[in-house]
């Protein structure tokens, strides 16, 4: 048994140092406050600043493999991923379409779309969910009707993160009237086409990260179908699995060390909370869950390397992370006692309300990308072989 991964040789120290210096020099100061999660700027200036930063990284040779546009040196990629994981300014749009294009796209599509994702020239979003198709995604109603060499798209999408600043959308629409997954097709949608109407929505956090997207007679060229017509369900499941394992593999979450800081700082009955038995027990529970999260990750990585991944693996990672993150945020608020009622903007709020924002945002991880209830259905039905949920008509 062994959980080590090849150590990064000392010869890469220079690469790491240069990268860090590069980031420090070029990272923009945004109007948007740094927050955990997939968060979206309010102003075009911020978006432009982010774009310039991503381009600068790209043009200096710091290109991430996850955008599928090139194959980099594995050690450099690890250093790059690690360095950028704490730099939210470098995260733009929802790039999961890259995986779909890589697996199902034509050569022309790959050449046209992948490099600009990598370079930050194109911002993408994912247009899957609809008002009546959330968990039950294959019930989606947006139609794409063939008319010569274009599809005419009509329908409504919702909860579309980053849509307000997107150049392109990864769209699911129905090309056959048959119900269920069979008639669904995946498309590239140019968000600047006539008939695409994006209306931002305000979230529980008070910020505006997702949108409604109305599609009225939008004419999408047939060359923008990803994979085969009617094959969209397969294309999607692949990219959703990536999204889930991304969440399960989890950056963006709360961390134990910060809870220790909060426990030391806040008092209860005249003593530091860190001395209270229930706080110590609670901290240890969270620390154990956090360490176990990592160990489960090693199990999953081992299965992945042997080509023995189970359908339950991504859901397990997603559930574990989402619930742990939520529990940490709730714990952090409890540590603050009455002060936890204060939030961003109040001068007395702890760390300007960062935990209050994390607490509210924590539900994104348990709902988005397939809710945890749906993940449990997947584990039970596909992983454990229990009977499927009956479907209503």
């Amino acid at each position: 048994m062994d959980v080590r991964i090849p150590e990064i040789p000392a010869s890469y120290d220079a690469y790491r140092d240069e990268l860090r210096a590069f980031i420090a020099k070029h990272v923009p100061t945004l109007e948007m406050k740094p927050r955990s999660g997939l968060r979206v700027p309010d102003t075009a200036e911020d978006v432009e600043a982010q774009r310039n930063f991503v381009r600068a990284l790209h043009d200096a040779g710091y290109r991430q493999d996850r955008f599928q546009a090139h194959d980099g040196d594995p050690f450099e990629q690890r250093i790059l991923q690690q360095a950028l994981s704490t730099v939210p300014e470098a995260a733009m749009g929802n790039p999961l379409v890259a995986g779909a294009l890589k697996l199902f796209g034509t050569d022309d599509q790959k050449a046209k779309y992948l490099p600009p994702i990598s370079r930050g020239d194109h911002i993408w979003s994912q247009l899957f969910s609809e008002p009546n198709a959330g968990s039950d995604l294959s019930n989606l109603k947006t139609r794409a009707d063939l008319d010569g060499d274009v599809y005419v798209v009509n329908g409504q999408k919702v909860w579309t993160t980053w849509a307000q600043w997107s150049d392109y959308g990864y769209l699911l629409a129905r090309t056959e009237p048959t119900p269920g997954p069979a008639g669904i097709t995946a498309f590239v949608l140019d968000m600047k086409l006539p008939g695409v109407d994006v209306r931002p929505l305000r979230e529980i956090t008070g910020t505006t990260d997702f949108n409604e997207v109305f599609l009225t007679d939008v004419r999408v060229p047939v060359t923008d179908v990803i994979g085969q017509p009617g094959n969209g369900w397969k294309v999607t499941n692949m990219s959703l699995a990536m999204e889930r394992s991304g969440i399960g593999g989890g950056g963006g979450g709360a961390v134990v060390g910060e809870l220790i800081d909060a426990a030391r700082l806040h008092n209860r009955r005249g003593r530091s909370a860190i001395e209270a038995d229930d706080v110590r027990q609670g901290l240890a529970r969270l620390a154990a869950r956090s360490r176990i999260h990592r160990a489960i990750g090693h199990k999953i990585a081992t299965r992945a390397a042997k080509g023995k991944l189970s359908v339950s693996d991504a859901p397990i990672g997603k559930i574990w992370f989402g619930e742990l993150n939520l529990a940490m945020c709730e714990f952090a608020l409890r540590l603050q006692g009455p002060r936890s009622a204060l939030t961003e903007g109040d001068p007395a709020a702890y760390l300007d309300g960062v935990w209050q924002d994390r607490f509210l945002y924590a539900r994104a991880w348990t709902i988005a990308g397939g809710s945890n209830e749906i993940m449990r259905n997947m584990i039970a039905e596909r992983g454990l072989g229990l009977p499927k949920e009956p479907r209503g008509s």
Partner: protein, 382 residues
Amino acid sequence: MDFDFNDDQDLLRATTRAYLEKRSSIASRRPLLESPEVFDRRVWEEGAELGWTALLVATEYEGGSVSDQPLVDLVVLAEEFGRTLQPGPLIPTNVVADAIARFGSVEQRRAHLPGIVAGKTVAAWCMTADGSPDLGGISLRATTGPDGGFTLTGTAGYVHGATVADLFLVTAASEAGPAQFLVPATSAGVSVRRLVTLDLTRRFGEVHFDAVAVPAANELATGDSAVDVHNRALAVATVLQGAEAVGAAEHLFAVTLQYSKDRIQFGRPIGSFQAIKHRMADLAISVEAMRAATHYAALALADGLDDADEAIATAGSYVTEAHAFLCGECLQLTGGIGFTWEHDVHLFLRRARTDEVLYGDPPWHREELCRLITSTRTKEQP
């Protein structure tokens, strides 16, 4: 990265499982559940030939392991022991073997290890009187006699295997701080009271030492090194206890899953009801978590990784508690038939509830984990 057992360890598992099914299945031990003794020496000696007592002992004392991570090999055995609720003191005997192999003098190793390895010497660990791992819970006193030997007086509680042990590893408070002694069960003044326990599959004893004379040569460690012996023993026991829980949980979960597919109510398998389905999913997650926590602790201890202490405390915090919860859920999901004496689920539940408190209960390990993580987090925020 290969966080899984290797082929040799898989073979060890297959051999062990086949042997236990044939010679010591749960069904075969059913008639003994309420009898004074459940331990079968012949099974133990045959098991010794399969390596049950050899893995943590060097070849020069007749031991030997399957891989270069003997503790991970032993995890395989402990999982199989848990799966079939074995009565044998796999954990205490190996804890004692490990203590002698690591900390004993050459004479002590020669005197005891070959017998343990051969299955002739069954060993038990007298940790404390109150069953907690706190050295403050020791009631045994060791006084030094004129000949340099010791006299032990006091009690050790909750000792698995005490009723059949030939050799005790005993922790006592001496003038020089804590000390450990190797005490043959036949020593004058040693007596064992069999405990009546919730667990029906193992036997535990309270060991009384009434002015037991122990020669100086039987002292294993004293002072700081006695604390090291204690901590090491506790770490090994925590890993192996976790592994027994993993094996038991995997088995009971599989049985319950099958039941949820077979049992029909309201015209459908009960496993089609989401209230049950989601609980099965949660149990599947917890089994994976128990496995990951235990295997990581085993690996960290075997390889002496930097975070070994945290890894042990993590396993101790989570695994036995999750297992006891799983057993309760499995009982619930099995309904009335699960409430019968005949059904095995109560044997798992009884044992799981006992596992939780044997080598430091989860709250004890959590306090340990909290101490470790707060001591490394020095940065204070404004």
